[in-house]
Symmetry: C2
Amino acid sequence: MGIDLAVSTVIFAIRPASDPAERGILSIPLVRRTREPFAGRWSLPGGAADEAEGLADTAARKLYETTQLAPAYLEQLYAFGDTDRSWSGRVVSVVYWALVRAELAEQAAEGENVRWFPADELPELAFDHNRIVEYALWRLRNKLEYSRIAQAFLGETFTLTQLRHVHEIVRQVSLDPANFRRQIESSPAVVATDEVVSGGRHRPPRLYRYDTTVQLADNGPLG
Amino acid sequence: MGIDLAVSTVIFAIRPASDPAERGILSIPLVRRTREPFAGRWSLPGGAADEAEGLADTAARKLYETTQLAPAYLEQLYAFGDTDRSWSGRVVSVVYWALVRAELAEQAAEGENVRWFPADELPELAFDHNRIVEYALWRLRNKLEYSRIAQAFLGETFTLTQLRHVHEIVRQVSLDPANFRRQIESSPAVVATDEVVSGGRHRPPRLYRYDTTVQLADNGPLG
């Protein structure tokens, strides 16, 4: 018996809508369980903690095994340890949340047992994974407003329209473009570069960047 | 072998200084280790996770066993799981932080193997516990500025001077009383009551309260 320790990760990406005219969709990849309990249900990527590996390394490895991607951002979310969260013995799950880059997520393979779902329209998942995703969404939406993590969806440089779309898609709001521009331009965190979008448009939009690049993990003094 | 799961808690209280004319001191109780590794060193209260008990319940129970107090506030801090944090096998520690009320902490017993230390003047602790306390202090100081947790040090009603002293002691700053009063009175979170401090003073100070009482744990949608 004893307590089993698991590591799971809520992975977020902005994926294109099936209709190319529509905006992207905040999405998470799920893994179909092939064993009881909850055989056939979708669940968060993860597995048993590895005795020889740090918790964040296990989270990143499982993320790679599921999506063939490396995270642009990875942070511990919470350790879930209620006594009744699994029917087959006591399991404590240390859960991480991660952001991956949109254009890479487009290429990430799906298969019979791995599929991307809209983060706000999930089926009934195994264990307490719906509750875990809900908490991860809350953390992501809060953090988007007071940190630089939007960059993890975007890459090094981006247009203000691209940045606004990230906020609109993640926070599920519609933002006034002029207000958003004023707000960003008055913030010291985002700075204009000398570059514009290439491709020969008449008035190509300017590229911006964050003043400092986002940390891979942002855990205060734990760095 | 395998991975051992432990629960530890960083417990904060404001305790009186040895000189009664001095302000209180942000303090944490530590337990002296009686066994190797680190026999004789001071460490955070805690122990092995219990298979039949939720993690927060274990944290509260260990807190009670160490201090004979119930927490006014209890929140999960982080799961520490580096592979090299113990010399005797792999240990993952789910760490909580807690606040206990000042006047109760005054009465909390000390003994040969339990002692309260100033949070900013700790000896070299067992394991990675200095790093854990540093992170808990960072979380406490941040959270004091944007949440209602100061109340956990104070009780239901308090004077503005008492509230200012909590901020000064925890954040290690000196605040202008008139500015602090203006700032608090313009915040909707703290409201004046009809009561004043009893005891027959000529101009007894007014008592204030938070608009809503502080939650025992504040983990967003996890409740």
